[in-house]
Symmetry: C2
């Protein structure tokens, strides 16, 4: 019997990758006098991956990686005003309003009566708490777990901490790598709701026939759960 239904946040409940993509577009424009777009993207991704073990996930680390990439790609010739623009890009991301994706508020309200709803999100603690507060969805969740990585060990620790059996737990999210595979590995259930963009770091090969349910929208979730 399913009792606890956990949701990913970024790109499951609200837009996230879109903001990164828009910011990266502005970053490319800033460096266009020095390099072409593909090279800028590739170098930024390399810098992010190199810094991941130091900065973790989140906008502040992304901003620092943009600054580092800008200095590297211009051989320190980007001037102070240009660096200031990169700092401002990061701030603009942090200041963005957080609007739930279509159908999210209704789906959570419909499900809150039948299940214990949990939020499990990875990233910067302060950013994620701020986004949850801005989203207005905080009241839907009885438990909120903000973690630095979403792997099998993390999910196992969360289930143990709350005394939840895997058979009574399902995870809903947009990332096969972070929301689906580690949860299935524990013997729990998972529902994939893809977002139209996936960060390169989160991309994994998809099996030909999906061994887990894939929905187009969170609006389809109540009916799926009713069918279980």
């Amino acid at each position: 019997m399913l009792r606890t239904l956990a949701f990913d946040a970024d790109d499951t409940l609200w837009h996230n990758e879109t903001h990164y993509a828009e910011t990266q577009e502005a970053f490319r424009a800033l460096l266009r006098p020095f390099h072409d777009a593909a090279w800028i993207d590739a170098r930024l991704h390399d810098t992010e991956m190199r810094n991941l073990s130091r900065y973790g996930y989140g906008i502040k680390g992304f901003t620092l990686s943009m600054i580092e990439t800008a200095l590297e790609l211009t051989e320190d010739r980007l001037d102070g005003a240009g660096i200031g623009q990169v700092v401002a890009l990061g701030k603009a991301m942090l200041d963005k309003p957080v609007e739930p994706l279509p159908g999210v508020a209704e789906a959570l309200q419909a499900l809150a009566g039948a299940f214990d709803l949990m939020l499990i999100t990875k990233g910067d603690l302060f950013d994620q708490e701020t986004k949850l507060a801005k989203s207005g969805l905080g009241g839907c969740f009885s438990k909120v777990e903000i973690v630095s990585e979403k792997d099998e060990a993390t999910y196992a620790a969360i289930l143990q901490r709350h005394g939840i059996r895997p058979a009574a737990f399902a995870m809903v999210g947009n990332s096969v790598k972070s929301d689906i595979l580690p949860v299935l590995a524990l013997g729990a259930r998972a529902v994939h709701i893809p977002y139209h963009l996936t960060w390169a770091h989160e991309v994994v090969a998809s099996p030909e026939e999906s061994p887990f349910p894939v929905l187009e929208s969170i609006r389809e979730l109540p009916a799926l759960l009713a069918s279980w």
Copy 2:
């Protein structure tokens, strides 16, 4: 009966403010051609406070505030190499080893048999998890809470989540503002172990006669608790 003994981390279990002070010293040296030390310090502090609601606590936000301050104080004349040095200062802080303060490992081992030990620390989730792992102290704590702010509401939520009565809880830390006053307000106990440096943001006026115990070193803690 005291059952749960919670510890702050930064400047209670390991050095932290010292690293900020050393970094700020290097930052001042970088900007010395432009301004005097007191002015640089004041402007950096203003930038940090202005950004606190956006960045929260932690090294990445501090680094971004240093960059912003450097651009402001040089009217964008600090060159790319200079900005690169600020980025490197931030990375050096993140890469520092984490060595427990004298007596910490012994005190925790002595207390672990008698009490349930908890870590309650504020700041960047990823930074704090990394520091705990580097410190080698992780195994001492049955519960770790990394929070974005340490006020009365935060402590009340932690106690409720773990089913701990205030009378059975004591907090040990270096910050009167974050570790002592909000805990006393809940009717729990708190022990102050000052660190030789306190971040300006954490400074509160001290009462003439301390209504809570103040220790010189964590080495004195087991004896104090035995006397309760």
